[in-house]
Structures are given as C-alpha cells and as structure tokens.
Amino acid sequence: MSSQGTAKRGRSSNYEYVIARVRSRRASLFDDDDYRKLVRMGTGEIARFMEETEYESEMNALGSRYSGVDLVEYALNRNLAKHFEDLLRWSEGALYDYIARYLRKFDVWNVKTVIRGLYAGSDATEVEDDLIRAGEFSERRIDQLLNAGSIEDVVEQLDDTIFGDPLAAAYEIYEETEVLVPLENAIDRAFYETLLDGLPDNPEIDSPTGLYIEFLEAEVDFRNLRNALRLARSGADVDPSEYYIEGGKLFDEQSLAQLASNFDGLVAAVRESTYGDDLDQALGDLEDAENLVEFERALDAALLEYADKLSNRYPLSVCPVLSYILAKEREVDNIRAIARGREAGLGPDEIEQELVIL
C-alpha cells in the first residue's frame, strides 16, 4: 500500500464520499437491543446470530475451519480488517494521511504478533489467523513478514518503515536479554511517537484538524494514564519513565514518575486536568471501588462519546471517520467479550458490565 499511499497524498481530500459511506456503516453497527439479545445467547447462538448480520461472509468463509468462540473471534478480526482497509482504499489526500496515522496501530499489532509467533515457535498459518490486516502494510509485506525465519529477519524487513531504527536498537538488547519486552516497547513507542509527528504545529483550536490532533493527544494521554494507574496499582518496581510516551498534554516525564508511585495523587491530578469533567464519574468510581477495569471502560466510553460529539459538530472533516473507527473497534471488543464471557459461563449481568455501550 505504500506506493499507493504516496500517490494518494498528492491529491485533495474527498471527504464527502468517504463520510457518506462511513455514516451509513456507522448506522448499521449493533445497537443496545442487539447487545441485550447477544448477552443472553449461548456461544452457538451467537455464531448463528452473526451469520445473519454484517458478518455473514466472514462467518461462511471461516466456518469450515473453526467453530464456536474461535470462529466468532476470527470472523470479527477479518471483518474489522475489511472495513478499515476499505477506509484507506477510499480516502485520498490529507484524509488518507489522517486515517492511516491511526490505523497504523494494526501494523503494530501485526508486527508484534509475528515476533511473538517466531519467539514461541508457532507455525505461519497459526500466526496468519491472528493477524488483523487493517494497517498500512501491504499484503506483500505481511506475507514476507510471515515467511521470515527469525526475529532478525523481521527487524531487517521493517528497516524502511517507522519501526526500523527503534527496532534495530531494541534488537541488540533483545540479543543480550532474550526477552521480548524491549522489542514490543520499541514498536509501541515508534507508533505513538509518529502518531503526532508532522501534523501542523499550531492549528486553529476549533478547526477539525485541531480537534483531531487534540484527540490523538488525548489518546496518548490516556495511554500514559493507563500505564501509570497500572503501575500505581500493582506497586511494581519499574521505572515509569521507561514507559512514558511523549506528545500528550497531561503528563511530562517527571510528573508521571512522581505520580506513578502515588495512586491518590494521580487521581487528583487527572481530576484537575482538562479531562476532569468528562471523567468525573469514572474517577469517583475508581476511588470508591478501586476497580481499574471499570475505569478503563469509562475511559473508552468517554473517548467514544467525545468522538461522536465531534462527528456531529464537524460533518465534513476526519471526525466522523474517527468516530466510526472507534465505534467499530468497540463493537468488535464487545462481541468478543460476550462470546468469551458466555464460554466462561458468566451471567448476562456480569458480561454487561464488561461492555462499552453508550
């Protein structure tokens, strides 16, 4: 896709076309009623239900190889990949760049999966099923990655991408220590740091581009926040600055290092910040129940609601596309949670708590 990508960047954006299609697809996502039905179904019924919806073609294609929850999971991944690949195919110009920027996180996922597969010695077909082909990497590149014989091969093949230099540096550490953590960190960092790279520095605050940048910054902030909260909760003796991602507004490196050891201080700092209003209730819950999982759900819901608001306010911008991407990801996560939850024998109420529904 990379050569196609550069060609697309030269043209002007085609917001009207992409947004008309995206809005239509957004409207056909599962709603509250569908979820209510799904949480009361068994795993077989969920698969049956999905065959009658949007996911029909994926379910049929994978039906002969998998069954039960695995079938649901792989069909979800494939459908997600199909839709996001469509977005990249339609869009041109600046819009393509904005979308690709965010969807690179699936490249991150794919590279990680391939490396983990090699590390664990799984065979290529197993790894292939776990990939989500939604990112900017071309089919060819992914196939090459799948056929790589060693982790070193993977690092070499990614030389010309954003992951090239950080991965090469991390590979040396990997050779010494034989653990995957440095490699995975390098990939994540490369992604988050290019997320904000090369966007206009001082966009007008209320322009769609400005809001998009604000949104990406929020994404980085929330990622930092999640890491900090997890560190604070687990009390692990890790240097927080090692996991710090630059580009957010909420923390700088020092303040994060200080706050990560102090759970109450961290919550207070977030309450004071610009996100305080949106997250007020979630923060209250967090302090009362001290339940990190619920707080993370609240973060997701807050992000989704914010994106929806933007998409209604700025109809001809990247915002509706973004809101669709988020909503689709949530849907896939939700259905997966339902299917896995039912498999593990959880009750409908317990599963409903796990879902992010607006």
């Binding site: 085609n14 009207e16 076309y17 992409v18 947004i19 008309a20 299609r21 239509s24 697809r25």
Partner: protein, 87 residues
C-alpha cells in the same frame, strides 16, 4: 472598507450620469451571469454528487434521493437564465 465602497459607488453613479457606454453590452453581461451561476452550481454538485455516490454504494435504495439532491443546485442556473429574458 465601507468608505471605499461608497467612493466606488459614487464613481460608478457619476459615470452613469455622464452617459458613457457600458464596458460590455447588456446581452454579454447576461451571458456572463448565466455562466458564473453554472460554475457555482457545478462546484456545489461536485460535493453533493460525491456524497450521493457514496451513499448509493452502501445502499441502493438511496439512488432516487441521491439523484434529486445532486441536481438541486441546478436551480441556480435556471434562475440565472431568467436574466437572459429580462435583458
């Protein structure tokens, strides 16, 4: 800004009173008006058409509605045509 406009208007009015011939004949001005209106509606239809095709690609039943919305700006040209008969 407003002062300069006033100046220009004054100048134009004086020109008119002294009986100088207009820069272009009236029929040419009317033709220009229609042409500009067509350009405007063409630009408007560009966006609507793209959106309509997108909507139709997702849902065939949008064809009729998409078509109507796409040609709505065409009314601009029809209204501009009135000028030709008035002049």
């Amino acid at each position: 800004m407003i002062e300069t406009i006033a100046l220009v208007v004054n100048a134009v009015l004086q020109e008119g009173t002294t009986g100088a011939a207009p820069a272009i004949p009236a029929s040419a001005a009317a033709a220009l008006a229609v042409g500009l209106a067509a350009l405007g509606s063409g630009y408007a239809e560009r966006g609507i058409g793209a959106a309509a095709v997108g909507a139709i690609a997702e849902d065939d039943s949008m064809f009729g509605r998409g078509l109507i919305l796409t040609v709505l700006p065409e009314t601009l040209v029809i209204l501009a045509l009135v000028v030709v008969f008035v002049v």
